[in-house]
C-alpha cells in the first residue's frame, strides 16, 4: 500500500503543479483539467519513468498534509469553500516547524521527532490538533490530523506520524504564502 499511497500523493501534487502552471494562461477549470491529466499521467502510465521515480525518491514520504493542501488550493480555486489558516497560524506553524527541524539536525538538545513513533503520544497529539480545530472551526486541519493518524496506524506510509502530517516543503510554502499576504 505504500506504493499506492505514494502514487496517489504524487498524482495529486503533480496535478496541483500542472494546475498552477496552466493557471497562468487558462481559466481555473481548464487549468484543473490539464493539471489533473498531468498528475494522472505521472502517477500511472509514467510511474516507472525517471520523472516519477525521481520525484518519489526525492519527496517521499509525501504524507497527508502536502496532497491535502494541494487539493484544498484546487478546490478553493474552483469555488469550493474549504477552511484555511490565518497569517498568525501560519507564522506560529512556521516558527514551530523550524524549531522541530533544528532539533532533528541536532542543533537543539531535544528530539521531538522520536515522539512520532509512540501510539500514546500520537493519539494525544492528534486529539490536541482536533480540539484546536474544533475551537477554530477548521475541519480541514482535523481531517489532515486524523487522516495522518489513520495512514500511520495502518502502516501505509512512514512509521513516524510526523511524516504523515508534515513535509519539509511546507517551510517554503508557508513562507511564500505569508510573504504574498504581506505584499
Amino acid at each position: 500500500m505504500t506504493q499506492v499511497g505514494a502514487s496517489l500523493a504524487l498524482g495529486i501534487c503533480a496535478s496541483w503543479l500542472g494546475f498552477v502552471v496552466a493557471g497562468f494562461v487558462l481559466p481555473s477549470f481548464s487549468a484543473a483539467l490539464i493539471g489533473g491529466a498531468f498528475g494522472v499521467t505521472l502517477a500511472w502510465p509514467l510511474r516507472q519513468r525517471l520523472l516519477s521515480t525521481g520525484a518519489v525518491a526525492i519527496f517521499a514520504p509525501f504524507g497527508v498534509m502536502l496532497p491535502a493542501l494541494a487539493l484544498r488550493h484546487l478546490a478553493v480555486s474552483l469555488g469550493v469553500d474549504v477552511p484555511g489558516f490565518s497569517s498568525l497560524e501560519l507564522f506560529a506553524f512556521l516558527m514551530a516547524y523550524i524549531l522541530f527541524l533544528m532539533a532533528a539536525f541536532g542543533l537543539l538538545p531535544v528530539d521531538f521527532y522520536r515522539l512520532g513513533y509512540s501510539a500514546k503520544i500520537v493519539g494525544l497529539m492528534t486529539l490536541a490538533l482536533c480540539l484546536y480545530a474544533l475551537a477554530s472551526g477548521n475541519w480541514f486541519l482535523a481531517l489532515v490530523a486524523v487522516g495522518g493518524q489513520a495512514v500511520w496506524a495502518v502502516g501505509w506510509s512512514s512509521s513516524n506520524w510526523f511524516d504523515t502530517v508534515l513535509h519539509v516543503t511546507l517551510v517554503p510554502a508557508a513562507f511564500i504564502t505569508l510573504l504574498m499576504r504581506l505584499l
Binding site: F105, G106, Y113, R114, T126, N138, G155, N160
Partner: protein, 373 residues
C-alpha cells in the same frame, strides 16, 4: 456543520488511538547476546588471508560480512568513486570445507537498478554505500542515495529473493525526507525479537542514533548518542542483557575514539567521552570475546597515518592493550569489520589502498593475543 464533522473525526481518532495503543507491545529492553563460540584450550596460533582484492578500476570500499542460511558472504560497494552514479554492491561467497576456506567468484549482489525496482514505493536509486548485516538471513541494511552525496543518504531495508532484491524500503529515521542517515556497523538483537540498528545522522551537528526495528523492519523508537565533536558510526557491543558500550568515531577530528555506555538495554546512552585511544577520525570494529573483553580493530596512530591495529579493551575499567599491528604504511586500511567464524576463530575484513581494495583474514584468538613478533 463543521463542528459535527470535527466531532466525528475526534471519535475516529479516539478509536484509532485505542486500537494502536492496544496493539503496541511494550519494549523488552534486554539485549539478546549471540553465543560466543568457545575458544579451544590448545588453540594453535593461525593467521591466513582468505581474500586480497584490488578493484580493476575505481574504488572498492566498506566491506561487510553477511551470514546466510549456510554460507558467509563478503559484500562491498564498487564503482568509479564512492557516491558516484555507477556504484553497485558486489559480493563473494566465503565457504569452509573442513580446515580449508574457499572464496567464490565476484558477482553483482545489489544493483541500483535492481534495488530501485524493488523499492516500495518504487524510486530512483542513484548510488549505494555502506551495507550491513540485518540480523536475518536474506536481508541487509544498505545506505542508498537518490540525490546529493552521503549527507543526503537514507538507510534501506533490503530483502533478497533468488534473483536479487525483491523488496526495499527506506527506514523512517529523519523528518528531513528520511535523509542523512547512514549505517556502518552491524545491528544488535533484543530478547523480544526486535533489532537495534546503530546508525548516524551526518547533516548539521552530526550524531549517532540507536534505532529499534520491529519484526516488520519498521522503526519503533530511536535514542540519540551524543557527545563532544561529531560522534558518528557507532559500533555497539552488548556486554550482557542490560549493559553495552558504543565506540564512536569523532568526525570533528579530536584525534580520540569516543565511547558511550548504556546500562538499560540501549534505552538511554551516556554522553560520549574519550575512550582513551588515539583515533584520527576513522571507524572501528569490535567483537565481544568474553564478558569483560572486547577485541577491537582500529587505527590507533595518533599522528593520523593509516595503521590498523588489533587491540583488547576491558569495559569494566576502560583499559586498552595493544595486540598486533596489522597494517601500516601505504596500505591505507580502513572500515574494519570483525565477526566470529562460528568455530572459535575470527574473521576480519577492511578496505585497503585508499578504498581501492579489500582484504579478508581469518585468525585465531591465540594468534591475536600472541602479539607482534
Amino acid at each position: 456543520m463543521g463542528s459535527v464533522v470535527i466531532l466525528g473525526l475526534v471519535v475516529l481518532s479516539l478509536g484509532l488511538s485505542v486500537w494502536t495503543v492496544a496493539r503496541e507491545t511494550p519494549f523488552d529492553w534486554r539485549f539478546k547476546l549471540s553465543d560466543i563460540p568457545e575458544t579451544p584450550e590448545q588453540q594453535a596460533p593461525v593467521f591466513e588471508t582468505l581474500f586480497d582484492y584490488r578493484a580493476p578500476s575505481g574504488q572498492a570500499h566498506a566491506p561487510c560480512l553477511i551470514r546466510n542460511e549456510d554460507a558467509l558472504s563478503l559484500l562491498w560497494f564498487e564503482g568509479s568513486a564512492e557516491a558516484q552514479a555507477d556504484v553497485d554492491v558486489y559480493s563473494v561467497q566465503v565457504n569452509r570445507l573442513g580446515p580449508k576456506w574457499s572464496v567464490g567468484p565476484k558477482q553483482a549482489r545489489l544493483t541500483r537498478t535492481g534495488l530501485g525496482q524493488a523499492m516500495d514505493p518504487r524510486q530512483l536509486v542513484v548510488t549505494l554505500g555502506n551495507t550491513v548485516e540485518a540480523g536475518r538471513p536474506g536481508e541487509v541494511l544498505a545506505t542508498i542515495v537518490s540525490i546529493g552525496g552521503w549527507a543526503m543518504a537514507s538507510v534501506a531495508d533490503v530483502r533478497f529473493g533468488s534473483g536479487g532484491p525483491e523488496m526495499g524500503r527506506k527506514l523512517n529515521l529523519s523528518p528531513f525526507l528520511n535523509r542523512s542517515n547512514l549505517v556502518k556497523s552491524p545491528l544488535v538483537l533484543f530478547e523480544d525479537g526486535d533489532r537495534g540498528l546503530p546508525t548516524y545522522f551526518e547533516l548539521g551537528t552530526g550524531y549517532s542514533l540507536f534505532a529499534r526495528l520491529d519484526a516488520q523492519g519498521r522503526v519503533r523508537e530511536t535514542t540519540r548518542l551524543t557527545g563532544p565533536g561529531k560522534p558518528i558510526q557507532p559500533m555497539i557491543v552488548p556486554l550482557d542483557a542490560g549493559n553495552a558500550v558504543a565506540f564512536l568515531r569523532d568526525l570533528a577530528g579530536s584525534g580520540q575514539l569516543l565511547i558511550s555506555r548504556s546500562a538499560d538495554g540501549g534505552r538511554s546512552w551516556s554522553h560520549a567521552v574519550p575512550a582513551g585511544l588515539a583515533n584520527t577520525n576513522s571507524p572501528v570494529a569490535a567483537l565481544l570475546l568474553e564478558p569483560d573483553q572486547i577485541l577491537v580493530a582500529a587505527n590507533d596512530d595518533p599522528t593520523g597515518g593509516n595503521r590498523l591495529s588489533l587491540l583488547s579493551f576491558r569495559p569494566s575499567d576502560g583499559v586498552w592493550h595493544h595486540l598486533r599491528e596489522l597494517e601500516t604504511g601505504d596500505v591505507h586500511a580502513r572500515y574494519p569489520v570483525l565477526r566470529h567464524d562460528g568455530e572459535g576463530a575470527i574473521l576480519l575484513t577492511y578496505s585497503t589502498y585508499n578504498k581501492t581494495g579489500l582484504r579478508l583474514h581469518h585468525f585465531t584468538r591465540s594468534w591475536a593475543e600472541a602479539g607482534d613478533a
